[in-house]
Each structure stands twice: as C-alpha cells, then as structure tokens.
Amino acid sequence: MDDDPGVTRPAGLVIDAALELLDRQLVDSDDSLAGKVDDLELTPSEDDSHVLYVTAILSGPGALGPRLPGRLGRAWSALFDRLHPAEHPEPIRISFGVVQSLGPRIRISMSRHHLGVNSFEHWTREHIIRRIPGSGDASQ
Amino acid sequence: MTSRRASRRTVAALAVALTAMLAVTSCVGPSRTRSDFRRKADTTVDNVRGAVQTAILGIQATDRHSLQAAYVSVLLGDAEEDASAAADTFAGIQPPDERSDRVRAVTNELVGESVDALADARIVARRGDLAELTPMLPHLRRLARRLERLSADLDGVGR
C-alpha cells in the first residue's frame, strides 16, 4: 500500500465538502445573508484531467434542484427556469477566489447584489412585496 | 435508487397521518349492539348535562357578579350549540331493537327539553335582559338532576 490515508497530507487545510461546506449559509461583504452553498463546481486541472479542483460555489434553485428527490427536484428547477429572465439560466456562480472565510457561515468579499439574478427573490419582490406600502423602510 | 428512499418515507408518513384524520372524523357509525346504543345515549346525556351545567354556572355568576352581556350570550350560545349538536347526532343513530326504542324515546324527550331551555336562555341573553336569566335557574337545575339520574340508569343497567 503506497499511501496510508491516515498520514497527514501537505500542510494544507483538510475539509470534508458535504460536512463542512455544502448547505452552509453564505454571508456577503455587508454582512447580509446571500443564499446557501447549494453545490460546488469541480474543474479538472490542465495538466492532469483526473485531478479536480473546487473552482466555485453554486447557489440558488438551479443548484439545489438536482439535489432534491425526484419529481420535487425537477419541479423546483423547472420553476426556476420559468421565472429566470435568461434563456438557459445557470445557477448563481460565486468564484472561490472571493471566499473570505470558512466556518459555520461562509463569508464572501462581494455584495449579494452583484451575484447573479436570484429569480425567486426578484419575482417575489417585484410582484408582491414592492406593491405593499411601507415595503421600502424597516419597521419602527 | 437509494436517494428516493427518504422521500418515500415522508410520503408514507403523510399517508398515515391522513388515514388517521379520516378514521377520527368518521366516528359516528350505526350502533350494532344494544349496549353500544346505550353507551351512545349515555354519552349524549352526559354532553347535554355538561351544557346545562355550563348554563347554570354562567347564570349564577351573572346573577352574583353581573357579568358582561357579550360574554354571557356567547357562553349560553355555545352551550346550546353543544346540546343541540349532541341531540341531533343521537337522533340520527338507528336503534338496533325495540327495547332500544324505549331508551331512545326517553333520552330524546329529556334532551329535547334541555335544548329548548338552553335556547330560551340564549335568546334572553342575546337580547341583553340578563335579569330574566335568574328565574330560569330552578328549571335548569331540575333538568340537570333528571339528566344525571338518566345517565346513572343508562350506566348501571346496561353492562
């Protein structure tokens, strides 16, 4: 057996993706909630296609849909597709480069407004909430 | 596919909950045996007695403390509603044999009298003349006693 998994790897941080990254809350630069880590994008390295690197966090219904069971997952993704203005909508992609810190909450160094269009939030805001007086100011 | 297992489990759980709800709501079935009918009569009499006692307590409290008319009319209205609901449910049950007919007649007659007395109280209360409630107490107390005796008869002999 040439390598024993118990032996520590090069000193880099070791984490288990599902246990410590997936489904964690994203927090943006002005400390407000920015969705969840619904999935991770894996990209093969140029020189050895078997080696995979985590290049981005995927967030929003487009990313969560496939992880939900059967019909419900497909319905969730379908609803996302219909509400999303783009023709072939992709889930929100947050490059790993902007991740500031890991832990119970994953902090990113950009504002959530610069993330892709979150269709559900956008649709609900425009069609329901904005129509109600007082929707623009916090409660007294 | 293993990943379906969790969703199948939740669907199963919801199905169990639904059947439970259905089983519970369809609880008034035709009574097969005589003792079953007796027991239904006994429960009906107990429910109506509870409603009459509620009215008695309510009117006593009104008499002593002159309670708010709104509350008294709702209390008496609820009591009447309970009694007449119990009476209607019982009237709809098919008595299994002739002897049960007698039980049904006696029960219906006393229960009917009680519902009428409660209706009178509710009418007076809704009109706001609470003073007219107190004179109804003796009649309600007699009804309560007769209901208690009937319930005891139904309880005792039936087993």
């Binding site: 246990l19 997936l22 390295s45 995979l52 985590v54 480069g97 991740v99 160094s109 | -």
Partner: protein, 120 residues
C-alpha cells in the same frame, strides 16, 4: 462537473463488492492560488458509508462527542465508513469502481487530528 454528482452514488471495490454510497468528498487546500482566498481545494478522496445520517452528522470524522446514547448508536452506524484516495477512484460510470479491495481501505481519519497534524 458538480460535487453533488458524486454524492450518493453506489461504490464497489476492486472485487465488485458493494461498499455503500459516496457520503462525502475530502478536500485538501493545496491547489493553485485563487483570488484572495489562497490555494484551491483539491479533491483528495471519497468517504464511503452505508448510512447517510451517520456520516452526515459527522460522528465518523468530526469528533462530535454527542450524548452517550446517540454517540453509541450513530457511532456504530458510522463504523462502516471508509476513505479511499481519489487516485484509486474510477468515476466514469454511474457505479463508482475502486482500484483497491475493501480490506485495503481505512476508516476516514478524524478531521480535528488532521488539522492539528497529530494523526497517530
């Protein structure tokens, strides 16, 4: 490719015996630099186990002490989980095939020890 495409897939070892499903993907931060985050995470290996709850709660790797009753029950369920290095994984078809036999695989090393470099 998405990470979730690995999770939950059935796994068989070199001899074809089933080992359960992929429960987690172990990452090591030693890849090329990425923006301000630092080195990228590389897929280092897979955690394979039979019971999703046990792995998901991290009793097999996280050093969660947990109340005695829960720790023993869930801990026993988690005992089946194994770690396999990514080099020995062939994930081309739906059923993932390993180039190692079941008895050659070790339980996943607990994460706290890995982080403090004090793995025995």
């Amino acid at each position: 490719m998405r990470l979730s495409e690995l999770l939950g897939r059935p796994v068989v070892d070199a001899d074809g015996t089933s080992l359960g499903e992929v429960r987690d993907v172990r990452l090591v931060q030693d890849g090329p630099l990425q923006g301000t985050f630092g080195a990228a995470f590389r897929v280092d290996g897979l955690i394979i186990g039979r019971y999703e709850v046990a792995s998901r709660l991290g009793f097999d790797r996280r050093g969660v002490k947990g109340p005695w009753l829960v720790a023993t029950i869930v801990g026993r369920l988690a005992r089946s989980s194994r770690f396999v290095a990514w080099e020995h994984v062939d994930a081309t078809e739906h059923v993932i095939r390993l180039r190692r036999r079941a008895d050659e695989l070790q339980p996943p090393a607990p994460l706290p020890q890995l982080r403090t470099g004090s793995v025995g």
